[in-house]
Symmetry: D2
Subunit: 358 residues, 4 copies
């Protein structure tokens, strides 16, 4: 009898359930009935506190299209429990205890950057761990694509699409704020897909003058309206230059609930132009996974099952080109995949006439 | 040769183009080629300034599904042009001049409450006018349904659907802010359709204690998450009680860009609970009309063409039950259709367990 | 303790679960915990065979948006069990026995025309029965709208939308076959909503010459493509004239799996024009209910709960205009609501330039 | 002044307009106003007959999301014009003449396998040609992804999703016929994404016994329903073994309009099980491109503009992993990219419990 633990950690996203279904379908095929699935509740918290449910294959029936996670999730369990992430040292023993108590053969962790860092820590402490690259942000180092990303892009793009018709009817300027505090992948893709005129990313600090120049250029071309796709973490050149501490302070003390309102004000102040703001927010991580994510996550899940069968642990399942494969958890841990101003896709976007306000 | 003027006025919405297509297809059928369509640009502004394009039936090909308006629109032209709406008296002659200059047989106005008031004014001044009930808000007095409403409900509901999966995965409280400054129809319908737990409307002022009680009740029932559908114009009982002037002042001085953030803060202050906010905003008036709106607006348009043929002017096309008919513009002008706390649908919503925080 | 039986009968559709959720939420509110729900499986079959599950309110959590029915359904149980529907006399006692055995206070039947006829039969035999008007076909006599209808229209319209772009790119003629063997409501609404050029309905027999004339007229107007929305039960004038028996024979012996292929051949034979066929089929009854249906069915469900509370049995919940109300089951039983060639909406469709091939 | 010809050839698909918009935006950026676009109508036919329109950048405004092609398309122009494709020799001079007459600097061809073969022929005859990989089938040799493919997968998946709810409510077997006469990529992806139980592809001939075994296995597992995703070109082992000529004859003489109906009959004959059929057909190439395709095709278009700027002709723009690049047209011409039974994704699908009926 194989005993497999599984948990979903960090911000939820589309295709978490689809991925777990893939793992369990794969395991069921490889081990027939000879496998037990321990689903730990609310991410690592369930592992620390030994809170779980035993899952049967029926539990995975019909969840391919279901958003969210049937196991629940939680963010930053170390921090939440009063202990800083960095030295999660006391918590690790608790998790190891749970693992050993149930004589698990492997722990499957569906999570993003922070969660895979913890997964690697557990792996280094001797547990058999497989990571699966979850995040709408697509910022996990080592994989071309994370599951959840494309579905999030779909929702952000749909928001831009809707804004397009109203913006063009009224000759207005609109900002659509897209998820992404540290990285701009969703904004970049949704911006291109939605036909945004200006895209502002955390990785490419903007100059409000350049942004307004781009708006003026639109007007000169006879285009009465403009759409900005702005990442949550968009940042001006002045602020980006500051030391980290000061930067954080400025952001924390922002008078608006999110950056889009601030940029709207900056545009108004600089150019006198009225700007309207839309914040689709958490809708971007909700709803059904799109077909792309369902195929990707099903394949990721099946691949994880095979790694378990082959006892290749300490691995993160990844996509390279169109191939599903894996890399050591340690290789990815702690690294983020940022948009680079030199990326081909940024170059292509500029060719399409999109301004990055830089 | 019949000469028909047409304009779209006020905030844009879905199915404006579909409605105009209906009018023009109807006219083309009734008058064969013997009809000329003057499309005035940017709403009443185009009529005042004699800015228009002559439209051919090709211009209406393929626009059934297209959001926005091919004629452009503008809000409150009287106010914008420096003259208060109430005494639009100087502007009316200009519009009458344009009408007479082109020897128009009828002016077709697609607009909401304010726009139909102006349409009625023009009608009272001797022009032949037909109104078509446009608005996502469904607040036009005299019709069971305006076009745009159902499509706006769809988008707001989709936002709530997406929030549902993420809210339930993380056991969180979410506010989805839905369009509607004065009336709560979209919020009410989208709230029911999206399975919201609490619905806050302009017409039913809330008590933050009652809101928090409803949240507590959810927790007691073992439901870890809650969703609030909150109209832009949601208002607390304290503020609702104030004289209009004071109320407006409070709203104008609100420190947040919209009400949802304020209510989130009130909940946090009162109960200590964290609340997240989503503002789909103008997406609700964008994108393609849904099939319901396309049928409704096509029928509205065809009916308007028949009214013209029968020379029955001064009418607003409306839906009564499932019948398309018309009422005098004067009957609707200046009246809003509010949600009443005694409406059956509010009663039904309460039966479904939805709290209105009152 | 109230004991309520519930079943879903006939072809499935969207919003069955949403309606049941409405009933149960309503009952829970009215009776607090003092109510037991017996969910009979596979429609009337479960009632005959006493196959059911006791449902808790958790079972209704999250099913507002879920297509299909958590109770399962079956078509024509009388016929399937070897006994013709007409004299279901032996089966009725079995159903009454089950009802009495569990001391039910009421049986709630979600079903279409045939199912409500049986509901009425049970009511006449002394059971307390409430009917809820389910069917994508919208052909239930006595209600302006059934739940499922608008969602089916959405899917059929989406199919026509997709066909539009490919038809116009290639200057082709396309038939989209829409559900509806006896009545044409879905085809009529989806046809108008999708901008079909020709609509063929069971209630308005077509003349293939007139169909081809309409196609020629499109060509003359310089329109390179045409789209036909054709109901499953579309019928030519020649066949419609025949006695019922002969008509049925001809339809049964049709060499194609469905009518669209046959009409495509008739057009080819008569005019030499190539026609392509799309059959979205059962997709039209699947997937999530749209927001319109969710509101309608939630209200229907809540209303049914109130009828139970008021002990007003033998009623079918219906929509009249925008009011949810009820009529005696006996009033609706056995009657279908057909499209009439004189209906306003047919008149409007003709005004829009749509041909019915008649 | 640069003079660029452009045409869309073969079956239409999503993102044709988006790709052309990318090319034109790219050219406008690289050459400023110094570029003229000749849009040849109805594919190669327009080039042969010198039928075109001069396109301005306004023509490309708002078409990012528009399905179909603003230039029109035609299939197999050589064959249609009475001359077999193989020796299109007379037609090539006509196309070269048009090219030279307008002193074109480059011809941009958006097309699939056959169209790129012709593009290569023109290139070999001295014209400057750039190919862009269009096809929903994803069967173009040399690129990981064609534009149109993912959008087609979305629509096919949506059909399977809808069928899921109805199949499970009624315990039925359903076939969804997916586009793909020669290759099974759409069926394979949509089958996995839609959670199909059985996938039948042209490249993996099926044995009806094995198909029925897989259905029986579902029943044994207590699953009352099954869904088959079947490619248009699905083929049984017996027929696949026959010489090409005989095989073609059998397919041509098939009594049903498409393969799904035939397989439904085979299952019924072999196992007595009733099977229902859905044929979404051409809907799969219609409607708006999804965000994935919009990004891909925009980048493809921009890349083509750069190739022109760099005078690197005779190239097909392709995707390798996540990099947009190009290969010589001659490398791809005449080769199809088939699904192989040994592909990882087929292996993964089997792991997920999907049967290929082989």
């Amino acid at each position: 009898m194989k005993r497999i633990g599984m948990l979903t950690s960090g911000g939820d996203c589309q295709a978490l359930n689809a991925t777990m279904r893939g793992v369990v379908k794969g395991l069921t095929n490889l081990y027939k009935k000879d496998v037990e699935i321990y689903g730990f509740l609310q991410g690592y918290r369930g592992l620390m506190r030994d809170e779980y449910k035993l899952l049967k294959s029926e539990d995975f029936s019909g969840i391919l299209t279901k958003g969210g996670t049937i196991l629940g999730s939680s963010r930053q369990p170390f921090k939440q429990m009063g202990i800083p992430t960095e030295d999660g040292i006391d918590k690790v023993p608790a998790m190891i205890d749970t693992y050993k108590k149930h004589k698990l053969d492997c722990l499957v962790v569906l999570g993003g950057n922070g969660s895979q860092k913890t997964a690697n820590l557990l792996s280094e402490n001797g547990l058999n761990v497989i990571g699966l690259p979850k995040t709408i942000d697509n910022d996990l180092w080592g994989t071309d694509m994370t599951f959840g990303f494309q579905s999030a892009v779909d929702i952000a793009t749909e928001a831009i699409d809707c804004i397009h018709t109203t913006a063009s009817s009224h000759n207005r300027i609109f900002i659509v704020e897209v998820m992404g505090h540290k990285v701009g992948w969703i904004t970049l893709h949704a911006g291109i897909a939605g036909g945004a005129d200006i895209i502002l990313l955390p990785e490419i600090p903007y100059d409000i003058k350049k942004v307004c120049d781009a708006l003026d250029k639109r007007t000169e071309q006879g285009k009465g309206f403009s759409i900005l796709a702005v990442a949550e973490g968009a940042i001006s050149k002045e602020v980006a230059k500051l030391p980290k501490k000061e930067r954080k302070k400025i952001i924390a003390e922002r008078k608006y609930p999110s950056v889009a309102y601030e940029i709207a004000e900056q545009i108004r102040d600089y150019s006198g132009k009225e700007v309207r703001v839309t914040v689709p927010g958490h809708t971007q991580r909700g709803g059904s996974p799109d077909p792309f994510d369902r195929v990707l996550s099903s394949r990721f899940g099946a691949y994880a099952a095979e790694l378990i069968k082959k006892q290749e642990y300490g691995q993160l399942v990844v996509l390279k080109g169109s191939e599903v494969t894996s890399i050591p958890l340690s290789e990815s841990a702690g690294k983020l995949k940022y948009v680079s101003p030199d990326d081909d896709i940024v170059h292509d976007a500029r060719l399409l006439g999109i301004s990055f306000g830089d």
